[in-house]
């Protein structure tokens, strides 16, 4: 089995063995990274096709982390040098500290070549506004699990409006209790039920 397939099949030990071997053979970490990225893309596709679910996604993240550890800083350089599809600003809205859904969305956007800035959880409106100005994304993705997130999302979008920034981004929302009915209430553009939806919506908006 080739290196990419070993990653896709989540053969953790074998993958790490091969990475070490490759480094011993002086293979460039850029080349290794290209393969890893290719594998992550396939894993993302498998998740989209419902062949893989969260255990596989988490396991692949774990393998990625171990590769990172070995390749270290070189990996970051190669990441920075690669071309990205478009920028997405992401975060769980203030009041809410849940991160599972947001992290899955980040994984899928990363795997599909987006440049994602993840602001973490419990992110206040001002932080979104400031990052929006600095990072200048085309897409803002607001995540929330609790029902209080509705009001937080509404407040963030109202503040964007007041700051004259609303028209500079497209806004998608998602998370546990969020659904399409709440889009209008909070003033967003679209709702995504899954991380796959998030990728599709972002792709559509970037290509517009």
């Amino acid at each position: 089995m080739d290196f990419i397939s070993e990653i896709v099949e989540l053969n953790e030990n074998k993958v790490m063995e091969v990475v070490k071997q490759k480094l011993q053979n002086n293979e460039s970490s850029l080349k290794i990274m290209d393969d890893v990225k290719e594998a992550m893309k396939i894993i993302g596709d498998k998740f989209s096709n419902k062949e893989y679910f969260l255990p596989e996604l988490i396991m692949s993240g774990e393998i990625l982390r171990q590769i990172f550890e070995i390749l270290g800083p070189k990996l970051k350089e190669s990441q920075a040098s690669s071309e990205k599809k478009g920028k997405v600003l992401l975060g769980t809205v203030f009041g809410d500290i849940h991160d599972i859904g947001k992290d899955v969305v980040k994984f899928m956007l990363d795997a599909n070549g987006f440049d994602v800035l993840d602001l973490g959880v419990d992110v206040p409106a001002d932080k979104f506004i400031q990052s929006l100005k600095e990072f200048q994304p085309k897409v803002l993705a607001l995540s929330g699990f609790l029902t209080l997130a509705y009001d937080s999302m509404k407040e963030i979008i109202d503040k964007l409006e007041a700051a004259g920034l609303r028209d500079s981004v497209k806004i998608m929302i998602g998370g546990g209790t969020v659904d399409e009915r709440i889009v209008e209430f909070v003033g967003a553009d679209e709702y995504g039920q899954s991380a796959v939806d998030a990728v599709n919506i972002a792709t559509k908006w970037i290509e517009e």
Binding site: L10, I58, T147, Y150, D179
Partner: protein
């Protein structure tokens, strides 16, 4: 009509629905999220966490506005004091004494998910689960219980003279101090306890049955995921340590039953003339979290065994299928068929009309007015949703109206909740 009669009719309505008989009207039995009543009464989350009596009184006032058939059980009010006393580290909440665990005054409490136990510790846990939980997990999750690391082995008691070392633990100075501190904590919670008893009494007096003090149960996989390994850990275990994970899930079934039978909620003098639906909030079994094969291998065996044992003890399990369970309906249907009219399936984001068609002859369905409507409204949209659900699910009995997520969400607006209630009275009538 006299109050006692109204009370009786309400309970009967729910009993009929669960037994798959047509009552006179579709029952409405909102669960309500923990802070709905307190927010409606203008309290902050912090006040709700610390002022148990006020919280209980607010609940009486707010719930009495609505014409429901079963009213929410009051989960122990004034919980903040107890959690401060324990030095609880698995939760963050408004007003917590430890600033690292304190949320804003207007934030509901939220769990901290992380691996409290490492994968390498499975052997130790499986060898002596009780001992492991006492000596490792309890001190890890409660900063005031560090002493439990030295808790003696229960097996000491079975050995000649060694029972002495077991008892000596309790006379150590530090343990005595801890017990003293706990007594103080419990005394400070007395207002909440009085409030809880008062709530049950006052509601009954008005003819409003409070849902039986349903002891909470959890799917064993979720117990591992929520409180032992964290979701990330549990899901890695599915790939790296599948046998250990399955064994642990299986071994958690009986303790779960034991915990239900000894629930601290009994402290509130639960009303025996009402009906108890045992709430099982499910977390990681939803579509998208795992495949059907994984669900069948890791999630379902211990959960279905738990529900089966509950039914054998005359407890009515009410799994709450949070998220979407469209891919799992065959598993759910099969269990319902084997346990006809013995459970209530509460749905969030699954198409309940489809569920009714599939398994309505075998199980009572509950749900699922969306949180987005109960918060965002408008009332006319709430009415439409309830009407459609009733029309699709009422035939033959076996349908109970409630919200989709946590019943009524904390932030729900009164006019939307009223619209949901009115719609049930308007469209849910089987016979006058």
């Amino acid at each position: 009509m006299d109050i006692k009669q109204i009370y009786k009719e309400r309970v009967q309505r729910v009993r009929d629905a669960v037994s798959l008989k047509e009552p006179d009207r579709v029952p409405i039995t909102p669960f309500t999220d923990i802070f709905f009543a307190s927010l409606q009464a203008g309290m902050t989350h912090k006040e709700a966490m610390y002022k148990g009596r006020k919280y209980a009184n607010a609940s009486v006032k707010v719930y009495n506005r609505y014409d429901w058939d079963l009213y929410p059980t009051l989960l122990f009010p004034g919980l903040g004091k107890m959690m401060d006393g324990l030095g609880q580290k698995a939760l963050k909440w408004a007003g917590a004494a430890d600033p690292d665990f304190c949320l804003g005054d207007n934030q509901p409490y939220q769990y901290i998910e992380k691996p409290w136990m490492e994968a390498e510790e499975y052997d130790e846990l499986l060898k002596d689960p009780t001992g492991y939980l006492i000596r490792n997990i309890i001190p890890a999750q409660n900063s005031s219980l560090g002493l439990m690391q030295n808790f003696p082995h229960i097996s000491d008691l079975s050995m000649m003279f060694n029972g002495m070392s077991f008892f000596f633990f309790f006379i150590s100075k530090d343990v005595k101090k801890l017990i003293k501190r706990y007594k103080k904590t419990l005394r400070s919670m007395i207002g909440g306890l009085i409030g809880m008893k008062g709530y049950n009494k006052k509601m009954k007096k008005k003819g409003n049955p409070v849902a039986g003090q349903f002891a909470l149960a959890q799917a064993p996989f979720d117990m591992v995921s929520d409180t032992l390994r964290g979701m990330r850990g549990a899901m890695l275990d599915m790939i790296r340590n599948p046998e250990e994970l399955k064994e642990l899930c299986d071994r958690l079934v009986e303790p779960c039953i034991y915990a239900m039978e000894n629930s601290p909620l009994q402290l509130g003098d639960p009303d025996k003339s009402t009906i108890t639906l045992s709430f099982i909030p499910l977390h990681r079994g939803a579509d998208g979290f795992m495949s059907n094969d994984q669900f069948e291998e890791f999630y379902w065996p211990s959960l279905s065994r738990l529900m089966d044992l509950m039914i054998k003890r005359d407890i009515i399990p009410m799994p709450f299928f949070e998220g979407r369970y469209s891919e799992r309906l065959e598993f759910l249907g099969e269990f319902a068929k084997a346990h006809k009219a013995k459970a209530v399936y509460w749905f969030h984001d699954t198409d309940i009309i489809k569920v009714k068609e599939m398994m309505g002859d075998h199980v009572c369905i509950r749900g699922n007015v969306p949180a987005s409507l109960l918060v965002g409204g408008p009332p006319s949209a709430v009415e439409d949703y309830v009407k459609k659900s009733i029309e699709g699910c009422m035939e033959g009995g076996g349908y109970i109206v409630d919200g989709g997520v946590s019943g009524i969400p904390n932030e729900a607006r009164h006019e939307n909740v009223q619209a949901m209630t009115d719609a049930v009275h308007k469209y849910g009538v089987y016979r006058k």
